[in-house]
């Protein structure tokens, strides 16, 4: 707070650097900064450079053009589509689950949260095979549905988009539930009572009071699962068919089978850019949510 008058940015930065606290802060941050530079920034810059080079080492945009056309484009679109479906499904399920948990007594709520989160300490591979056992033609689910003579059973629940989305949604669920649970616990229930006192029915209260109050949380949870889904690799490979190839698998294939490092790099950069755009949006939504929270606390 030493600079009270609006100063030039340069002057302000110099003033900030002069402060002992800032210098001390920079010093303690140094190990992390170096760590990130070596293991994060350098490889990304390397990837970027790779994606812009042709076979002779000259500059080209060929790989990007390649990424955004033909089969590569359709894989990219599949990735976006599956991510969106996952975000939607985990949002709906997560909302119901989080709502139920937020209405429980604290002890039961804690237990329920453990139940939701615990499976995710198990390796992704094991979990995925668990689903394959459950969802197969002769899996528990289809057997059960056949036993009660559900028309159309057995259903094809594996090696198609349904299978992939079931798997990815399951992975995303703890994130959305945790996020939404936090937001829901923050809603002042007395506001709902206030609406009821004016004669609002349950549906109106839900639509006009509750939903707007948790909306920022819904938006961030949805975006978060979308972003995290973009990089899925194991689940679509094991639970999807050829039409569910996602971009991470494509990159892997190009590197390990086709040795097309430059193409893989360009796809990686595109994926990264989409992720960054999502994160940016998340931040915007997050700050909106923060101000909403401030409001309901006032």
């Amino acid at each position: 707070m030493s600079v009270s008058t609006p100063a030039l940015p340069a002057a302000r930065i110099r003033a900030a650097l002069a402060s002992r606290r800032t210098r001390y802060g920079l010093l303690t941050a140094l190990p992390v900064v170096i760590y990130l530079l070596v293991l994060f920034v350098y490889p990304i810059l390397g990837t970027l450079a790779l994606s812009l080079k042709d076979e002779q080492g000259g500059f080209t945009l060929h790989w990007y053009a390649d990424t955004l056309t033909g089969i590569n484009l359709s894989v990219l679109l599949t990735t976006l589509r599956i991510s969106a479906e996952t975000a939607l499904a985990s949002l709906v399920l997560g909302f119901l689950l989080a709502y139920a948990v937020s209405r429980m007594r604290p002890l039961f709520a804690a237990l329920a949260m453990v139940l939701v989160v615990a499976p995710h300490f198990v390796s992704a591979l094991v979990r995925t095979y668990g689903w394959i056992i459950l969802l197969g033609d002769y899996g528990v689910l289809n057997e059960a549905m056949q036993a009660v003579h559900l028309p159309g059973a057995p259903y094809q629940l594996l090696y198609n988009e349904i299978g992939v989305v079931i798997g990815t949604t399951y992975v995303m669920l703890p994130y959305t539930v945790l996020l939404l649970y936090g937001v829901m616990r923050g809603v002042d229930r007395r506001l709902l009572a206030a609406a009821a006192s004016m004669g609002a029915g349950r549906l109106v209260i839900f639509r006009r009071i509750y939903l707007p109050l948790v909306a920022p949380g819904l938006a961030s949870a949805g975006l978060l699962s979308f972003i995290l889904s973009l990089g899925y690799y194991v689940t679509p490979r094991l639970m999807g068919g050829p039409n569910q190839t996602m971009i991470a698998s494509l990159i892997e294939q190009q590197v390990t089978k086709d040795y097309r490092w430059n193409g893989a790099a360009a796809q990686g950069v595109v994926l990264l850019l989409i992720t960054f755009a999502g994160l940016l949006l998340l931040k915007v939504v997050g700050s909106l949510g923060a101000s909403a929270k401030q409001r309901s606390n006032s």
Partner: protein
Amino acid sequence: MTDLGVATPTVAGAGDKPAAATGKSLSVVALRKTYGPMVAVEDASMEIAAGEFVTFLGSSGSGKTTTLMMIAGFVEPDSGTITVGGRDVTRLDPQKRNLGFVFQQYLLFPHMTVAENIAFPLQLRGVPKDEIRRRVFETLDLVGLSGFGNRKPRQLSGGQQQRVALCRALVYRPPVILMDEPLGALDKKLRDQLQTEIKKIQRELGLTVIYVTHDQEEALVLSDRIAVMRDGRIDQFGTPRELFERPRTPFVADFLGAANFLSGRVEHHTDEHTLVRLDTGGLLRARQHALAKGAPVSVAVQPGRLDVCAPADAFCSGTVQSVTYVGTLVRVVVNVGANCSIRLEVSARNAPQVGERVGITADPDNINLFAAESAG
């Protein structure tokens, strides 16, 4: 019958005609609420007529909010019944009771503007848009907040939020409005002004209002009747005058009248009076009370009902300790014995001097006696 809240938009229409008595009677019988071992409200009963202004007066934690919440339907009573306009609503959901509620904590909807907050109950009742706009504007104007309609609640001060909360309950003119310290956060001037407005609206529309406060002056100004609450019980329910002149318990005498308390024993009864021998020695003449001869009593008399006189005519006397001028009245403290002083409010013309020896007298009719056991 238009008493069904949401489903019947006619309720709002009915409120449009001023001077039509829209209030409803309300009765509460033997209401009780406990939280674990704690008894929050015990045996609360009262009959409130349509169009009556009733205040719950009591210190913090005496069960005022809890009683109000039970009437509104937010807290389920352990036992007892609540009837609004002759209809038993004890087990009815809050949204079906068609009451208005002003919450102690305002509870404005944070995601709506001030105007949207106030419009909300009108929208629920299907009031046309133009009329909503007009009524929101009128109501905001009434509480001195015109021009604040587009703000969000968080951009208002506590007192402003409280006024919006008041608007939100008044705007749809429910037949019964429950208000939990709706003016608690306001300064004296604004509070006086809004008291007048609330009273005016209530009178004009004939609304039934139950009002909670711990400010006795506010209760006296507004109420047709006051229920004095203590430790979850209603000590007395009556007109301000009844409470003031005929308090049923020492607590009521103290809480409303800030009474002086003296102790003594019943000496004997005459045809019209009960005579009490005070511990300070004097003989006090009080109006007739049904108390046994020799029974220990507690004497309560309000400062304004006492006067100074010659020591010879007094029921007790002492030296004047302090004299404070408050306008046309003076507050006098007279020391009448070891650690015992009496507060008086007398006309400034009769003001004694500090250090002067004076007697104290009172009209026997203004003296209340309580059996000493209940003088806890």
